[in-house]
């Protein structure tokens, strides 16, 4: 999985310039239900990964999210 590309996609969803692995998702003002839905859709369409909403809500940082998606892809 190309994590740099994933962070770029995440930044686009959050309407910001850059997302770093250590960033806490809840600190972004735009991390809302629409962003979560957009991440679910992105995970499904780009990486063929089905994430549950509960799983995504339990994730803290952008890096955790990338790890979750990578683990699911295997």
């Amino acid at each position: 999985m190309d994590k740099a590309e994933l962070y770029q996609k995440l930044a686009a969803i959050l309407d910001i310039q850059e997302v770093k692995p250590e960033n806490v998702l809840k600190d972004f003002e735009t991390w809302d239900s629409l962003a979560i839905l957009s991440v679910l859709a992105m995970a499904d369409s780009k990486y063929g990964v089905s994430i549950k909403a509960d799983e995504i809500r339990s994730v803290v940082t952008a890096g955790d999210l990338a790890n979750l998606m990578e683990a699911k892809q295997k």
Partner: protein
């Protein structure tokens, strides 16, 4: 579960939408959100206009209004209705059945089979299957299928996850025998273990409505709603649809021996534009074949969205032409089902406003 039906057809569709049109941009001030984020929501999800009943308007009001319209225009006679199926989740009463209320208000004959079905977004598929089953009886020649809901009355206006997309509406579909040797294929699935994904928790016998169940609670993301209100786990619904619907449609087409290329239109339940476009992407279906424009004009009116989308997109072509159509509904229950049929050369295809 697979079904096959012979010699049955849809011979007319009428949709009734409330005249009261609301705009998401005007309603945004009700929600405790940054305006830019709400505009993003409008752009992505397709929230724009939706139709909401005036206070006090019930399902039987919309249904009777539509039926009287058909009687007046000579498109339906009272004495030829052998069965009346009402699919709704917002009945006038717990008892009697709202189909009986409609039967009484319309002075229909006593030789008739009236029934209420409690179903939501798969309600058009469920209603059609029930109509086809009833038509297997010799005594039943013509079935009136009414899909109707006024779910806005059970949705919190402070819940941005649900309120901007709900719409109220009714549709009347006439289902009867076909003189041609037509074949209809269908596939239906249910999973009650996920019944909590879409629900109104209070107001039934398990949790009766009290002043406590009417109290607005902060359910996260600045959304306020009460236990008396519709609750939807949007992400779970999204995953459900993306996971279950593509294999359902694939298996239906295989069962019928029909390729997706030979299907003219795929009319899915109009949940929202985002979900439908992701679904189309996943199935490799061009957007032109799978309309997703109903919600932005009328709102999501559960079982009524499919007939509304058919009329809105095909309009008069439904009277003059015939199409191979796949219809797919999915939602509360959870329930998901699809029907493959030839649809067209109907006697009427019309949308009217309830005032």
């Amino acid at each position: 579960m697979n079904f096959i039906f012979h010699r049955k057809r849809i011979s007319g569709i009428l949709t009734i939408v409330p005249a009261n049109e609301r705009s998401f941009v005007e309603e945004m001030k009700n929600f405790n959100f940054p305006e830019a984020r709400s505009l993003k929501l409008k752009e992505v999800m397709g929230f724009d206009k939706h139709r909401i009943v005036e206070p006090g308007v019930c399902v039987s009001d919309l249904a009777v209004f539509g039926m009287e319209h058909l009687f007046k225009k000579g498109q339906l006679r009272r004495d030829e209705i052998d069965a009346l199926i009402l699919v709704t989740q917002s009945p006038d009463y717990f008892m009697p059945p709202t189909s009986s209320v409609i039967h009484g208000r319309l002075n229909l004959k006593q030789d008739i089979f009236c029934m209420d079905i409690n179903q939501g977004c798969a309600g058009f598929v469920i209603g059609l299957l029930q109509a086809f089953l009833l038509l297997e009886q010799q005594s039943i020649q013509k079935v009136v299928l009414i899909n109707a809901d006024v779910i806005s009355r059970k949705t919190s206006s402070k819940d941005r996850n649900s309120y901007p997309l709900v719409g109220d509406a009714a549709s009347i579909t006439i289902v009867e025998r076909d003189v041609e040797d037509s074949i209809i294929h269908a596939n239906l699935k249910m999973d009650g273990s996920r019944n909590g994904v879409l629900m109104i928790p209070a107001g039934g016998f398990r949790l009766p409505s009290t002043p406590d169940t009417a109290v607005l609670e902060d359910v996260g993301d600045n959304n306020l709603r009460a236990k008396d209100h519709l609750r939807m786990d949007g992400s779970a619904v999204f995953n459900f649809v993306q996971t279950e619907v593509p294999p359902l449609i694939k298996s239906l087409l295989e069962f019928a021996g029909v390729s997706m290329e030979s299907v003219d239109y795929l009319f899915c339940h109009q949940a929202n534009r985002f979900m439908l476009q992701k679904l189309a992407d996943k199935m490799g279906v061009p957007y032109a074949k799978m309309p997703s424009n109903e919600v932005e004009h009328f709102g999501n009116s559960s079982g009524v969205t499919i007939p509304t989308a058919i009329i809105f997109n095909l309009q008069d072509r439904l009277v003059t032409e015939k199409f191979k159509v796949c219809i797919a509904g999915f939602g509360v229950g959870l329930t998901w089902g699809a029907v493959l049929l030839n649809l067209g050369r109907v006697n009427f295809s019309e949308m009217i406003e309830y005032k």
